[in-house]
């Protein structure tokens, strides 16, 4: 009996060393258990008094072997993992798999950034109609019918007194008619001018700002635009005002920002001047305030208007305004953050 146990022990120990997989190990364990069963079945042939001693031997043998199996299970697991690791290799330089997200249009991005800058300063957003009356687009803005400034803008007409708004300034009047000062509004939207060439699009977007309150000054306009320039461009962007003319503001100014490309030294973008024309602004014309029932002797205000496309083109380096309206997937995808 003991010889049988010794033989089985030697056999199992030998085989254990060569087991490579959990499966082989399991099969060996099955074999061991059936062999052990067979040995134990020989117990009935033993004398009654010998049985406990033998039982003890078998039990010890069994426990010892099971510990061995445990030990080898760990070894085999390690071997198996090593094989798995060796087999499962990826080329980490291969492209990843990603969910393709969409993107907002650069006009929306810039519009949202502008709203963000000015909303923090207390501006509400107002959107007026795109098809306007002659009154809101021109007359109320101090541009009566025979006014020279009407020639400045080529207007699309839909009927005698109805037109596609040429400027978001039309929204100023609608707000001032309904609301009394203090007023701080921002009016973004589509505007239209009969101009279609390499640098003009017949439809584009403006963002109009209006502040009306007591004691508003030209210095305030400059201060606010300086803040805008810093937040939209860089902290070192400078603002320059120079005289200009708009019928609805007086004094009127053209606002230049120091060139973001060269920092003011002069480059191709700024045509060597160091400055880029970005927006028009001025102190709201007294007649405009009067037209809206605001007393110009009590209140003053300023207004500014900028082209959203122009800012987007400057910010992102887009060189062709037409590209903004072609909606080419390859163009739009680049604005997906």
């Amino acid at each position: 009996m003991q010889a049988k146990i010794a033989k089985l022990k030697a056999e199992i120990e030998e085989k254990l060393k060569t087991r490579e997989t959990g499966r082989e190990l399991y099969e060996l364990k099955m074999y061991f258990q059936s062999a052990l069963k067979e040995i134990m079945s020989g117990m009935k042939d033993l004398a009654k008094e010998d049985r406990p001693a033998f039982g003890k031997i078998v039990n010890e043998f069994k426990q010892g072997m099971e510990a061995e199996f445990e030990r080898y299970a760990e070894i085999v697991r390690k071997k198996e993992m090593e094989k798995k690791y060796a087999a499962e290799q990826v080329d980490v330089t291969m492209p990843g798999r990603k969910y393709k997200a969409g993107a907002l249009h650069p006009i929306t991005l810039v519009k949202n950034q502008l709203i963000d800058v000015f909303a923090g300063m207390g501006f509400k957003v107002f959107e007026g109609p795109e098809i306007e009356t002659d009154y809101y687009n021109f007359t109320a803005l101090n541009t009566p019918e025979d006014h020279p400034a009407r020639d400045m803008q080529d207007t699309f007409y839909l009927a005698e007194k109805l037109l596609l708004r040429t400027q978001t300034s039309a929204g100023q009047i609608r707000v001032m008619e309904k609301q009394s000062p203090p007023i701080k509004i921002l009016s973004p939207g589509r505007v239209f001018r009969s101009d279609d060439d390499a640098t003009h699009s017949p439809m584009f977007h403006q963002m109009e700002g209006l502040v009306v309150d007591k004691g508003i000054t030209l210095c305030d306009l400059q201060g606010m635009l300086a803040e805008f320039a810093k937040r939209m461009f860089t902290s070192s962007t400078k603002v320059r005002l120079r005289p200009s003319y708009f019928p609805f503001t007086e004094p009127s100014v053209e606002v230049d920002l120091s060139c973001s490309e060269c920092g003011g030294k002069g480059c191709r973008l700024c045509k060597g001047t160091g400055w880029i024309e970005v927006l028009g602004a001025g102190m709201v014309n007294r007649r405009v305030l009067e037209n809206c029932g605001v007393d110009p002797d009590v209140y003053t205000g300023f207004a500014f208007g900028m082209g959203v496309e122009r800012i987007a083109m400057l910010k992102y380096g887009i060189n062709n305004i037409k590209a903004l309206f072609e909606n080419d997937v390859r163009f739009l995808e680049q604005f997906g953050n």
């Binding site: 969409g102 907002l104 207390g122 098809i131 508003i216 210095c219 005002l241 120079r242 909606n327 080419d328």
Partner: protein, 812 residues
């Protein structure tokens, strides 16, 4: 406005360079868009005197010259020339070795658009030549610019010129032309004198006014009577009779000024009218007085159908909206635009009737547009001419008549003026001016600036009194004075402040605006790119989209003056724009894409348009590619419905431009809120598209009305939801929505029923289909235990019973 530097110097002692002057003008509101140096192409060309001439040994037309170019460049320079007019003692421009002149050979000009020709020493048929003798053309000048410049051959300079002198100084090419952008409020600066006044003000130098003096002499001729019947269109009309006019040559100085402005000399009288327009900004006209019938001038509206032939021999049929100048019988000029052929100045003209007038800008503009006829004069009137300058224009013209000796200024004249010429006095509070600016400009500076601008200011305490110059119709109130002050004082002296006195206001977006941002974010998450299209498209798009003749969408507002037919109707729906986006992308090789646009469509209450139309918010989606199908675009619509917490239903049907089998109307309750589907393959075929395109359009105003963007949170159930898959045999005609509805209604614990497979054929009988659903059973939040399999079996049993009873569906 183009102003030659040399001309401005007539009125102001300018002691700064052209660049410095441009900078100064820029700072006070006159942007100089370009400074052109006239001598840009010419370098190292000097006056030389031909000292000796010998025939070229190898040529029968060339000659070898010895040229004296002065101490600096050489006393004996050998140059070969082929010019026939060369002679010993001639003074002529010499292009030295390594010089540049204007290219005159048309073939070379084509290759070299700069138009600069380089001159280097070289051999001409074996004889060395150290430069070139030049013609006027090679200097880029004509007879008007410099007398004799158009002679065929060398430019024969006067004897008084000095050898070695820079030719640019000699012929007047050492000059700059400023191209100045003048804002619409300053028509007074559309002339040399106007710009010169600004130059004087900004440099702080005196303005030297042109000479307006002349002497009137008696005339024996009968009076010409002037009558203005339409003063609203002609606020001022001045006439002056000049007799004994003589032709001949206009003096060089005036011809050169005209040449600098691109105007050719015609005759002294005509040149004076052009000169006064440039110099004073006052358009002038000269009639041949002997051609005026009835010794009369009548300024009136034309009779309907009345005809006139203008100087350029074009005939126009007029209406009562056109202002004409008539003699006793007939129209002799189209007021402010062009004179009539019947009274034009001819070389034989003896007596001249000069006209200087202010015609209403709007009238001139409308007539010029309506007739398609314009001139330098009409351009000027359209910008606005002031009645004050009219008299100065006339006086200047009469002075020039005397100066040029080309006529006798008589005392026969008229001045019909319907407007006040009294100087306008204005008072303003200095405190208010400073309050508008935000800084305190010292009184002395205010006084100085306004004096320089000829406002004659008087300051008494806070009260500023000015006399507005007659040419400044734009000055209207104290803010205008504030602007005059700050533009001269300097915008760089403002100190930025941040709304020091303003009230605090709450800012930001309205709920509607926030909702639009949310919508865009959801679509971005769904992989859509945002598009922006024009608000107008072509009426042909309606045909392309196969819209029936009576389709609502055809009731579009049209642009009266479109750029082209392609951009002539306002959008009534956005699908055509999105289709164009897809087509453009596919043609460019962008085989797959998802785009959306959120924009307005425009709806007229009646057509033709009478009142402001309604603008409605529309969302259009476009999906194209080889792998996509109807459910890609539907999924995006469903994602929006989930965000807005609305229940949309999809009913088969749709629009004429969609595939009849693969399209649906979108309903919110009973209301139609949009449609979606595959682009009709017939349209795809006509566009040559090899990819499928799916379109959806949603009426956002309707959807926003029901939208709820709040977050609705439910606490999680203690026990997990359980799923069961059911494969059902259903009639082919049954829709997913019909089965889904029964599934959801059969048990309150079914929180989701999702179709995951449809199968036909195999063991499935003809006319039937297998539909596999995953049902989700969610225990209530307060349930005490999870659903056991037995409980679920009970639910399923009940569901199957309902399916069989209501829809005849069997378990597979």
């Amino acid at each position: 406005m183009k102003a030659p530097f040399s001309w401005l110097k007539d009125y102001v002692d300018i002691d700064v360079t052209a660049e410095e002057l441009a900078e100064k003008l820029f700072s006070c509101g006159f942007e100089v868009e370009e400074i052109v140096y006239l001598g840009e192409k010419i370098s190292r060309v000097v006056v030389g005197e031909v000292k000796a001439l010998t025939p070229h040994p190898d040529s029968d037309h060339m000659q070898v010259c010895v040229v004296d170019c002065g101490e600096e460049y050489g006393r004996e320079i050998q140059i070969v020339t082929g010019a026939p007019n060369v002679y010993v003692g001639m003074k002529t421009p010499v292009a030295l070795d390594n010089s540049t002149v204007c290219e005159t050979n048309p073939a070379m000009l084509e290759k070299n658009p700069d138009g600069v020709k380089k001159i280097k020493k070289g051999k001409l048929r074996g004889v060395e030549s150290f430069g070139m003798l030049c013609s006027g053309e090679e200097l880029g000048i004509n007879d008007d610019f410099y007398a004799g410049a158009e002679v065929n051959g060398l430019l024969d300079l006067g004897k008084e010129t000095v050898v070695g002198e820079d030719i640019k100084k000699v012929v007047g090419l050492d000059d700059w032309i400023f191209d100045i952008s003048v804002t619409a409020n300053r028509p007074d600066c559309q002339c040399i004198v106007g710009i010169a006044r600004e130059v004087a003000a900004v440099l702080g130098k005196p303005f030297k006014a042109p000479d307006y003096s002349y002497t009137e002499q008696e005339t024996k001729e009968a009076e010409i009577e002037v009558e203005v019947l339409a003063p609203e269109l002609c606020p001022r009309y001045m006439g002056h009779y000049v007799e004994n006019a003589i032709g001949g040559e206009t003096p060089a100085w005036m011809r050169k000024r005209l040449a600098l402005s691109g105007i050719r000399s015609i005759s002294p009288i005509v040149d004076i009218t052009n000169f006064v327009l440039l110099e004073m900004g006052q358009p002038m006209h000269a009639f041949d007085a002997d051609e005026l019938g009835g010794r009369k001038i009548v300024v009136r509206r034309a009779n309907n159908g009345e005809k006139i032939v203008t100087l350029d021999e074009k005939e126009f049929s007029l209406t009562e909206n056109n202002l004409v100048i008539c003699d006793g019988e007939k129209p002799v000029a189209l007021a402010g635009i062009m004179g009539g052929l019947n009274s034009e100045i001819k070389p034989t003209t003896k007596n001249v009737y000069f006209e200087a007038a202010k015609f209403a800008r709007d009238s001139v503009r409308k007539t010029a547009r309506a007739l398609g006829q314009s001139s330098d004069s009409s351009f000027r009137f359209e910008k606005g001419v002031d009645a004050y300058t009219t008299a100065y224009g006339m006086a200047r013209a009469l002075h020039l008549i005397e100066e040029l000796g080309c006529g006798r200024v008589t005392a026969m004249k008229c001045d019909v003026c319907a407007v006040s010429l009294e100087p306008r006095k204005m008072t303003a509070s200095i405190a208010k001016i400073n309050a508008l600016l935000g800084i305190t400009v010292p009184n002395a500076a205010i006084e100085d600036i306004l004096t320089r601008l000829e406002f004659k200011p008087v300051i008494d305490g806070d009260i500023l009194t000015v006399e507005v110059p007659g040419y400044r119709d734009d000055i209207d109130g104290y803010p205008d004075l504030a602007e005059e002050i700050i533009r001269m004082y300097g915008y760089d002296r403002l100190t930025p402040t941040f709304l020091e006195k303003a009230s605090v206001t709450g800012g930001g977006l309205t709920d509607e605006q926030k909702r639009e941002n949310l919508l865009k974010d959801v679509l971005k998450e769904q992989g859509f790119l945002e598009a922006y299209n024009y608000s107008f498209y072509s009426p042909k798009d309606f045909d392309l989209m196969k819209l029936p003749e009576d389709a609502q969408e055809r009731n579009a507002i049209t642009v009266l003056n479109p750029i082209s037919e392609e951009l002539s109707v306002m959008r009534t729906f956005l699908c055509p724009s999105m289709l164009q986006n897809a087509v453009r992308n596919i043609r460019r090789g962008n085989d797959e894409g998802r785009e959306f646009e959120l924009a307005n469509a425009y709806f007229a209450c009646e057509l033709p348009l009478k009142e402001q139309p309604t603008e409605k918010r529309r969302l259009v989606l476009g999906v194209w590619g080889a792998k996509c199908d109807f459910f890609d675009i539907k999924g995006a619509v469903e994602a929006l419905a989930e965000t807005f917490h609305i229940k949309l239903t999809f009913v088969k049907g749709g629009k004429a431009f969609l595939h009849p089998g693969i399209s649906a109307n979108v309903l919110l309750g009973e209301k139609a809120v949009g449609y979606l589907g595959e682009l009709d393959p017939a349209i795809a075929l006509s566009l040559g598209l090899d990819k499928k395109v799916y379109l959806a359009e949603l009426f956002m105003d309707e959807i926003y009305g029901e939208a709820d963007t709040a977050v609705h949170f439910t606490n999680l159930p203690k026990f997990p939801a359980m799923e069961r898959d059911l494969a059902l045999i259903a009639d082919e005609k049954l829709t997913c929505a019909e089965v889904e509805e029964v599934l959801l209604r059969s048990s309150k614990y079914v929180t989701k029923a999702r179709l995951f497979d449809v199968y036909r054929g195999g063991q499935i009988p003809e006319g039937k289909k297998s539909m596999a659903f995953t049902l989700t059973f969610t225990p209530p939040a307060d349930a005490e235990k999870a659903f056991t399999p037995e409980v679920l079996d009970g639910f399923v049993k009940k569901i199957l019973g309902n399916l069989k009873f209501k829809l005849g569906i069997e378990l597979r």
